[in-house]
Symmetry: C2
Subunit: 191 residues, 2 copies
């Protein structure tokens, strides 16, 4: 019997899509950068590529990203697998608590999983594989098909100067030393 | 035994994603329209939404779209299934032959199928399910899982005034009466 086509194994996805390790965790490849530029409404009209596109992959060996923020908006589109996205919206008024949202990108629509996820400008974002899927990956025969492959379209296009990694200090400031920040400290770069 | 999760049946996709019939053929739903505007580089700087996003679905009952063109660029991202995209680029010099390209969006990367397809500004585009998949759909047990579900991100955002349907007259003009246009006449709206 030939192996199932879905999900495409990570060992096929990585070389076929020419993915590399991403500094946020996971794997990625930039696949399109529009040559036309527009004034970015999110950075005072500074010129940016109209849009950029990447693949982004989590695997059992690269099972989460770290919190980061982009001034541009990003549409996340699921190809296969499943991952939890954790979004922290800074409060409009300093000192108020931040807004925390969790969304699962996955194919189980009737369970509330989503195939698209828009993350607006200025939101701290992190994604991770779910415990159930990581447990399944303990089986060597299943491991290569556990993960989450998405496309991200960033508009206006990605620029490092619009990007920031969350720091431990900033995380604690967000939560005003309430201790709630502890849950997320493991998802801070170099945290 | 519970039914497989992949591919999600069309009878689940359509209501869960609230899809409606599209005038190009197929089903769709607009899921995001950015409120920020930018001057579109493709229409002389006229203001457009930064980006818009839709779901687009072909099924055995709505098995193709018709040729149309958008002045904005569109990134197509595959969720599940398989479809052939036919792209006709008008010649730079009137009278020269148009450029014809066919791409299959599908999961079989090693066979050259693609998970992303960028269609630049000003290209005639049509998509259709493949004969093999339509044959499989003759089996009532398989029919509900035959189709192609994609996300399209349009940048700058979609506007009807940037959109055109290919007409029979325009198709014949493209091919200079060479007879090659006949193959595509079935994919012209009201053709």
């Amino acid at each position: 019997m030939s192996p199932p086509l879905y999900p495409i194994p990570n060992s096929t996805v990585i070389p076929e899509l020419r993915l590399q390790k991403h500094p946020e965790g996971g794997y990625f490849a930039e696949t399109d950068r529009q040559s036309e530029t527009v004034p970015s409404p999110f950075v005072g009209g500074a010129p940016r590529s109209l849009a950029t596109t990447i693949y982004y992959l989590l695997t059992p060996d690269e099972k989460n990203g770290v919190f980061h923020m982009n001034k541009s908006a990003t549409m996340h589109v699921l190809h296969q697998g499943r991952a939890e996205y954790v979004l922290i919206t800074p409060p409009a008024t300093p000192g108020s608590p931040p807004k925390l949202e969790k969304k699962v990108m996955g194919p189980n629509l009737q369970a509330g999983e989503v195939l698209q996820l828009l993350v607006p400008s200025g939101i701290w974002k992190m994604s991770r594989l779910l415990p159930d899927d990581l447990s399944a990956a303990a089986d060597p025969e299943k491991r290569d098909r556990v993960g989450c492959l998405i496309t991200e379209v960033v508009f206006p296009g990605f620029a490092w100067e619009d990007h920031a990694f969350l720091t431990r200090t900033e995380l604690e400031k967000l939560y005003g030393g309430s201790g709630e920040s502890k849950e997320w400290a493991a998802y801070v770069k170099n945290g």
